[in-house]
């Protein structure tokens, strides 16, 4: 039986006909909470994967009707184009402040921010830390690719030591630019944080781990426990000057030495925290 014969009527987030057939089922499709719009990201950029995971989560928790997403400035500045939920475009770095107000004015809303490393860990660090310290009931999806992608590949607060960028052409030097900032390490001391985890987007297995972490970070908000944040170690194939596949391997081989993945804080299911020990906070700044 051909796909064409099977495609009849089942709703999907894209405008192609879906399939319904007695003996065929669709096991994976674009989430209904995503729009059909073609994403503007470069080939192989993991933003698209993380967008899909966000869409899946909104679908899975049935949150679309009362979700307000807050988008950043950076590569994902158009994220609101790709989700079906209400959305606010914040100024650079201020998404946690915007989200704070949206949530505080009506706690029945599900409020998430989607931010990059320049947005969250550089210009918006104050808003990030204070939202976390206050234990705002918001969920932050933090995409860390260690570079300013949209503006042309400048050094980010999370660029690795030795990493060549357009503003560190000989490689990042700790003596003059400091060490990369580990956001999870930094926030893990704050009691307002209910869930904090870092995951590399480098393989199907890790993407599935990301899903598990995202569920917890969302539950941190829905169960009124505090702020939830998932840091995605993400690729920037174009600005890293690597193929998409090499960029994913670079995460596994190199990036995780500076940014060890794992669950840093879990006050959602405290039992899990013991079964998933917090990774060493040793901030090695390993060679790129």
């Amino acid at each position: 039986m051909s796909i064409e014969m099977a495609m009849m009527g089942k709703a999907s987030a894209d405008d192609r006909p879906a399939t319904t057939c007695d003996d065929v089922e669709c096991v994976m499709a674009r989430p209904a909470s995503m729009t059909d719009k073609l994403m503007h990201y470069c080939p192989g950029c993991t933003h698209g994967i993380i967008h899909r995971l966000v869409g899946e989560m909104i679908d899975e928790f049935g949150l679309l009707d009362h979700t307000v997403g807050v988008c950043p400035v950076g590569c994902s500045v158009f994220a609101y184009e790709y989700f079906q939920c209400d959305a606010i475009e914040a100024s650079h770095g201020r998404a946690p402040a915007v989200a704070t107000a949206v949530k505080r004015t009506d706690s029945s809303r599900f409020v998430f921010t989607y931010q990059g490393d320049g947005d969250l860990a550089s210009i918006g660090m104050a808003e990030t830390i204070h939202a976390a310290a206050r234990g705002e009931r918001i969920t932050i999806f933090f995409v860390n690719n260690g570079i300013y992608g949209m503006t042309g590949g400048q050094m980010a607060p999370t660029s690795l030591i030795g990493q060549k960028t357009t503003t560190s052409p000989s490689g990042r030097i700790a003596e003059t630019t400091g060490m990369p900032i580990g956001v999870c390490e930094l926030l893990s001391s704050l009691k307002g944080v209910a869930y904090l985890a870092r995951v590399p987007i480098s393989s199907p297995k890790n993407i599935n781990t990301a899903r598990k972490y995202m569920r917890k970070a969302i539950r941190a908000q829905l169960e009124n426990k505090g702020l939830g944040l998932v840091e995605f170690l993400s690729t920037c194939p174009v600005q890293w000057a690597m193929s998409p596949i090499a960029a994913m391997k670079h995460i596994d081989n190199t990036v995780i030495k500076t940014f060890p993945p794992g669950v840093f804080v879990d006050r959602v299911d405290p039992v899990d925290a013991t079964s998933t020990p917090m990774p060493a906070v040793a901030h090695t700044g390993a060679e790129a």
Partner: protein, 381 residues
């Protein structure tokens, strides 16, 4: 009609925008501090969420609201900075709530980026600036040096906030409610421009005994969560296509033109005036005393006090400029509003300026002497 609009000269006050809640409501006349009046006025005007950061000389506003708003089930949050405050205002406004921040000059400077986004995204909100001396850290004395910042946009891009300037504690109570109404009607930020003296002065004012219940204003554009709406809402100021951004800017500009129907001003002794004094806020209080002094000495002088600094009462000033021999502008700055007065007068008659900077508030005698000595001297330009 606003309580201070005693003179029929204020005839172009738009009736539809009255601050509500002061008429037909039981109130008590008592001594009220200016900053307290702003805080209470905002709550009576339907303030749902306040975000701010401490700075002198406006701290009574967050102090009062920190107790009052939570007791009403509304939101008070002391933010980590003015930058966060204005972006929280952005969020609360995007989510459809009446929201406000208050600060003083340096803090307002920090808010300018966020204000531009608010204007660009067409979000209603109220911003109180209890102005202090500048530039830089300056001092905490009364100043009007932020006129340009408030009236000419302040942040990047072609935008304006509507700007209201109270001159007594009663107006400090009434203007926040008007500001919320105007903000919602035109989807713009609205400034209330006060100063260190107005914020700190105790004066008799009528404040209603009961806080009215929240009256929810319907905002079909708000990002409240999609619910059963057929389309999602997006609050945004990003328009990459130049033609689209151009059209968006045209919308903003037409909004500012429409808002000219909200122009408010107060005139005193202008019917037979040969000399016109233009001043706003606390300077107009000094100005009115100086006018009375000079009237006793036989000078036919009148006062025009803009209440809306943007939109500016250009037509009223132009009209009076045809009647008088000379116009004086008095401000607590180096001469900012005087530029708008000159644009309004447009050479019909001379315009002269007197100002004090750095937080110095001259008395009526000093101002009267300045006016007396400058008569006939012509335009100061």
């Amino acid at each position: 009609m606003s309580a201070t609009l005693e003179h029929p000269g204020a005839k172009n006050v738009a009736a539809e925008s009255e601050p509500r809640g002061t008429e037909q409501v039981a109130g008590t006349k008592r001594l009220v501090k200016g900053n307290e009046a702003l805080a209470l006025g905002a709550v009576h005007g339907g303030l749902e969420a306040f975000f701010g950061y401490p700075i002198t000389p406006q701290n009574e506003i967050p102090e009062i609201l920190s107790g009052l708003l939570p007791s009403l089930g509304r939101v008070f949050l002391q933010a980590e900075s003015e930058v966060a405050s204005i972006n929280m205002v952005y969020g609360a406004s995007a989510a459809g709530h009446r929201t406000m921040t208050s600060s003083s000059s340096p803090g307002i400077s920090l808010m300018m980026e966020g204000l531009s986004y608010i204007a660009g995204a067409r979000l209603p909100c109220v911003i109180i600036n209890v102005m202090r001396g500048g530039p830089g850290l300056g001092n905490i004395a009364p100043s009007q040096a932020d006129y340009f910042q408030a009236c000419k946009g302040g942040g990047h891009g072609d935008f304006h906030s509507l700007v209201l300037a109270p001159w007594n504690v009663q107006e400090m109570f009434e203007l926040p409610a008007l500001a919320f109404d105007l903000a919602d009607r035109y989807r713009t930020p609205v400034f209330i421009l006060a100063d260190a003296v107005l914020g700190s002065m105790l004066e008799p004012a009528v404040v209603p005994d009961q806080i009215p219940p929240l009256r929810k204003v319907s905002k079909e554009w708000a990002t409240v969560g999609r619910g059963r709406r057929a389309v999602k809402n997006v609050v945004n100021s990003l328009y990459l296509d130049p033609e689209v951004l151009s059209a968006h800017n045209e919308t903003l500009q037409s909004t500012y033109r429409e808002a000219r129907r909200e122009i408010r001003y107060d005139t005193r002794f202008t019917d037979d005036a040969e000399i016109l004094l233009v001043a706003f806020g606390i300077a107009a209080r000094v100005g009115l005393s100086a006018v009375r002094l000079l009237r006793k000495q036989g000078m036919r002088i009148g006062l025009l006090r803009p209440i809306t600094l943007f939109p500016f009462p250009s037509d009223a000033i132009k009209h009076l400029a045809k009647q008088v021999r000379q116009t004086f502008v008095f401000e607590l700055n180096s001469g900012q509003m005087v530029e708008d007065v000159r644009l309004a007068v447009n050479g019909i008659s001379p315009v002269d300026f007197y100002g004090r900077m750095g937080g110095v508030l001259p008395g009526p005698e000093e101002l009267a002497e300045q006016i007396r000595s400058r008569i006939g001297r012509g335009d100061s330009l």
